[in-house]
Symmetry: C2
Subunit: 357 residues, 2 copies
């Protein structure tokens, strides 16, 4: 049974890094019998250029039909002056919402070969392996009412609504428990329940769902404290589950702890496990088109796709092992390069991983 | 002209650390001619114990009448089961709001004597000195509508409103520019303008106010990127200005970068410069009553009070110099102690600072 993968290169370095993912998928297909078909479509600024919309109708239709999606990155200064609804980010938010990809997995892993790249001391981050689970289709990102309006007294005000229903909280918290069951069985739910009512409901639901997972130790932490603890002692965490905006902030901080944000993949899943996979880093317009971007986060996103959506655990492990081997060989793109290693470009890195499969 | 200082010990370690601040203020009065009168009142859990409310009416009246306020900390497990409106935190939020203390200054400074306590590498944090200016009386903390309600279909949902008016944004951003003028003239405004309308208005107002400060370089950064940059290269910042919730999260992360959160003071000011001063750390119920808490953040909060509200720059500098001398002498409370230093308790540390004045 052949599965369909939709590739969305997007903007900036997106096309370059996604080209290496295509190379990898074709190698898995030709040499290791992976049964996939690839298709490509524009999104973000590229969607606007091609069809006048950051998420063209045709791209959305292909995304709905696909079994899994691989995204490069969206955004760039060329599109900064566009109206709000035409901006590249709107395409990203729209596809998340349209496909109900509510469960965003963001691992923060320190690769031993790259330990020295972290801003933190080795004893603080050595061996770091945490999973941040971010709710991706609710909260202030999508809540209504929202807008900028002029009050009766002539004063303008801007407003957004942080809103979560009980089922929305339950399904993401449940995902958190499921993931924790496969790891160290510790789940930390992050909220701001001492200030926000929406967080009080969040905490109440988390407590209720916990009854179904007696083997998982659930703890609660305020988001300000979580930001501190990630800097002070990140290894105290196993799985963190949190709402959209807090997850946006904390997962970026956690990713940066590893010092190798060019290495980190992510998955955004719906209730059936169908998903969109993308590197955590952005479109890096400053280095786009130069062939120097690090493709490894994208290749590791392919591994996540193989594991979580395509149910090809052996192929996933094969890709991850190949990436490890290439790092052991001392190959590094510019972002992770240190003295004594060999600096390579995007393509050479992608080819090396394929060779190491 | 004698100025009135209201002391609010609060809960946990609050009374202990505030006792050392009282010792310091009395020494400045007796030996260096500082013209102040001190009064004390309960807040937080202590307010609930004394008068059934986290912010007793009498405390609020005294706070309104005072020239400046010094707060220890609020909160503790004894009060965790109280109804929402009676919780210690509500007292803190209420006094901020009632006194219109919209401008919250949170310096993140690395003390050279304590450099080794940071989780970050010395080259990343050495010499760190940034000021985070957090809006303190708006946003989701106070926005309405808010609550938990049952929809028509029987599903419960929790909701809060992030809301800022143009004048609210303007006054905090203006404070940011004023502070930047006295420092390195670089102001970074942190928002999430690629997702939230309230942030779009924030950014627009910041751009407009910037025209009045041509000597200050204004930049904008998304909050997720700011969280990353604080970990990656915190010294790139001079002054950061941001809304209430983002400021809560980022200032705690920034404080933790220094590794000495027991050292960091804060100021919350109204439009006239009247203010409430408090250490950044919390009430630490686990060590309350043991005489081991670090009083230095509270003593440095007194220094901020002398500088910003009482206009006693020379006295402020005297306090800060005394703290520096005590650190040079190798005195350390347990939280900042390292091999080779002398471990002292709360009172001995307070006395040492007074002796070093
Ligand atoms: C581009 C932006 C809208 C997006 C977000 O905030 O979700 C990004 O920061 C991310 O984390 O994927
Ligand atoms: C105790 C809590 C309500 C408070 C806040 O979130 O403002 C605290 O975290 C702070 O930063 O002063």
């Amino acid at each position: 049974m052949t599965q369909n993968i939709l590739i969305l290169p997007g903007d900036g370095i997106g096309p370059e890094i996604v080209a290496e993912a295509t190379r990898l998928l074709n190698a898995l297909k030709d040499r290791f019998g992976l049964a996939v078909e690839l298709e490509e479509a524009p999104i973000g600024g590229a969607g606007y250029d091609a069809a006048g919309q950051p998420l063209p109708d045709e791209t959305l239709a292909l995304a709905r039909a696909a079994d899994a999606i691989l995204l490069g990155a969206v955004g760039g200064p060329r599109y900064d002056q566009l109206a709000w609804e035409l901006r590249p980010e709107r395409g990203l938010l729209a596809i998340r919402s349209e496909l109900a990809l509510f469960s965003n997995l963001r691992p923060a892993i320190l690769y031993p070969q790259l330990a020295s790249a972290s801003a933190l001391k080795p004893e603080i981050v050595g061996g770091l392996d945490i999973m941040i689970l971010r709710e991706l289709t609710g909260g202030a990102y999508f809540g209504k009412p929202r807008g900028i309006q002029t009050r009766e007294d002539g004063v303008r005000e801007g407003f957004n609504t942080i809103i979560y229903s009980e089922p929305e909280i339950e399904r993401i918290v449940r995902s958190g428990f499921e993931i924790a069951m496969k790891r160290d069985r510790r789940l930390c739910s992050v909220d701001k329940a001492n200030v926000l009512e929406v967080s009080q409901l969040w905490r109440e639901v988390a407590e209720r769902v916990a009854k179904d997972y007696p083997k998982v130790a659930l703890s609660h932490m305020y988001v300000d404290n979580a930001a501190m603890q990630l800097v002070r002692a990140p290894k105290q965490f196993d799985v963190i589950v949190t709402e959209n905006m807090f997850g946006d902030i904390l997962s970026d901080a956690a990713a940066m702890l590893t010092g190798s944000i060019g290495m980190l993949p992510s998955a955004s899943l719906d209730a059936q496990g169908k998903g969109m996979y993308e590197p955590i880093h952005g479109s890096a317009p400053d280095i786009a088109g130069q062939g120097v971007a690090n493709p490894l986060a994208t290749l590791l996103s392919v591994a996540m796709m193989l594991r979580y959506t395509l149910n090809e655990e052996a192929q996933a492990a094969r890709v991850e092992a190949a990436v490890g081997r290439v790092l052991d060989q001392g190959l590094r793109t510019a972002d992770i390069w240190t003295e004594g290693c060999r600096k390579v470009g995007t393509r050479e890195m992608g080819e090396a991983v394929v060779a190491a499969l």
